[in-house]
């Protein structure tokens, strides 16, 4: 299928991209890696009059470690994130999540920012952003604002990015706890497909193996990825004993009201969510304890 007609502008800088967005407003869309946008245009689900291409903007491709976070340009390619060993050491969930994202060819084009702005309910990077409480910086012609993930994701395929705004960078919080572990898993029909249910967790422990900090969440079961900060708090002070894990996973799954589609029923999705939450919490805990 072929895309409908549109006009194209290749932005040389963020300023130019923002000026073009301000000029064309609702009629324009930013194209980053295009791995979701182009199929949607081919299916005629979207008919933007203008595409503003940000792929050539070098200032949107960087990974910059900071004190409490790693900042990343919105147009940083998924393949570059996967290859970055320093990044994998500081925000290990990114590499763990990307192992489930598409295929070599799509990760070579697909970007971090594109995946977040597309906001597919089953997508992996939005789930990581949600549980780590990533911060997204949005820019317009006249200014910038930074949004926490909780305020960024609004609904399925919908974020609070305004028509004249461009996502420029993402700050992924880094846990400085010495013994930190994480895990990401999902069930999909075929490897690389969107998840039926995905789950991610990050856990920190002290030298006795007592949990000092925890975060976890699921994707594919609600319009936006779901984090469970209150339930994660219940893990703090425990050794994530089997019984504790079972209770927390059960309580988390019980809050979900997933939909039914051709891939899975709501009951199956809720069941999977409980199983996968248990699994990622256990793996993240074991991972944290194994740090010497």
């Amino acid at each position: 299928m072929k895309s409908p007609p549109f006009e194209y502008a290749r932005a040389a800088s963020v300023e130019e991209a923002c000026a073009l967005l301000s000029q064309h407003g609702d009629d324009a869309k930013v194209i980053a890696g295009g791995q979701s946008l182009v199929p949607m245009m081919a299916f005629r689900l979207l008919r933007p009059a203008w595409l503003i291409d940000i792929n050539e903007i070098a200032a949107l491709k960087f990974v910059a470690p900071q004190a409490d976070a790693v900042r990343m340009g919105a147009c940083t390619r998924q393949c570059d994130i996967q290859r970055d060993d320093a990044l994998a050491a500081s925000v290990p969930l990114l590499r763990q999540a990307l192992a489930h994202v598409g295929h070599v060819q799509t990760r070579n084009r697909g970007t971090a920012g594109g995946s977040l702005v597309h906001a597919d309910p089953s997508a992996e990077l939005p789930l990581v952003a949600q549980i780590l409480e990533a911060r997204m910086t949005l820019r317009t012609k006249s200014g910038t604002r930074t949004l926490a993930a909780a305020d960024f994701f609004e609904d399925a395929m919908t974020t609070s990015v305004a028509h004249d705004e461009c996502l420029t960078d993402i700050a992924w919080p880094v846990w400085r706890d010495r013994k930190t572990g994480s895990a990401f898993t999902e069930i999909s029909r075929r490897h690389g497909d969107f998840a039926i249910v995905a789950a991610a967790a990050q856990v920190a422990v002290d030298d006795d193996g007592t949990c000092t900090r925890a975060a976890f969440g699921v994707g594919g079961v609600a319009p936006i990825p779901t984090a469970f900060p209150a339930l994660a708090q219940r893990l703090v002070g425990t050794h994530l004993e089997k019984e504790t894990l079972r209770e927390v996973a059960h309580d988390a799954a019980a809050t979900l009201e997933p939909g039914t589609d051709t891939h899975a029923s709501a009951d199956y999705r809720r069941h999977l969510a409980g199983v996968l939450i248990t699994r990622v919490l256990q793996s993240a805990y074991d991972d944290a304890r194994s740090v010497r």
Binding site: M1, K2, S3, P4, P5, F6, E7, Y8, R10, I31, G34, Q35, V38, P39, M41, A42, F43, L51, D53, N55, C79, G102, H103, V104, Q105, T106, N108, R109, H191, G192
Partner: protein
């Protein structure tokens, strides 16, 4: 209203090719329809099947998920660019024949691009690495086994040739 045309210049297999395209012309349509490079195949045209894989600046991408205008100023390698300078099949291509890594041939250009990109980055891949590298390419004939064997054979032959 006629659509606007955009001038482009793309290095395809070492030769700069120029032209004018509408913004919505996909890279694969430009290669096939404007440049007569019909080696690259169009399958699903929405990024699932991998038949249209080409290398962009050395990295395999889906040419149905890019507009030709986006490739302006970049370097593209198609399956035609994999042959040896005298037109002979490359070791990888020959290995696909040898191991019967194809039947109908529809997925083959994409498989070859994916495999070549793998071997460029990792000359001695494990079977798992081979399977991962072609994980985004669908084949309905072979069941993949002979494709995996063909790529392993090519890696062995290339290692032997450069020893």
């Amino acid at each position: 209203m006629s659509e606007a045309l955009y001038p482009i210049a793309i290095d395809v297999n070492g030769v700069t090719r120029t032209g004018h395209v509408t913004a919505r012309t996909s890279l694969v349509d430009w290669l096939r329809e404007h440049q007569n490079l019909t080696g690259t195949h169009i399958g699903c045209e929405h990024g699932i099947c991998g038949a249209c894989s080409v290398m962009l600046d050395g990295a395999p991408v889906r040419s149905c998920l890019m507009y030709a205008v986006q490739a302006d100023g970049h370097r593209v390698t198609t399956v035609e660019g994999l042959t040896q300078p005298d037109g002979q099949l490359s070791i990888l291509q020959d290995s696909f024949c040898e191991a019967h890594g194809l039947q109908c041939g529809y997925c083959t250009p994409g498989m070859l691009i994916a495999a070549q990109a793998l071997l460029d980055a990792n000359p001695r891949p494990t079977e798992d690495e081979i399977r991962d590298a072609i994980g985004g390419n669908l084949c309905r004939c072979t069941g993949y086994q002979q494709i995996v064997e063909a790529i392993a054979l090519a890696a062995e032959r290339i290692a032997g040739a450069t020893r």
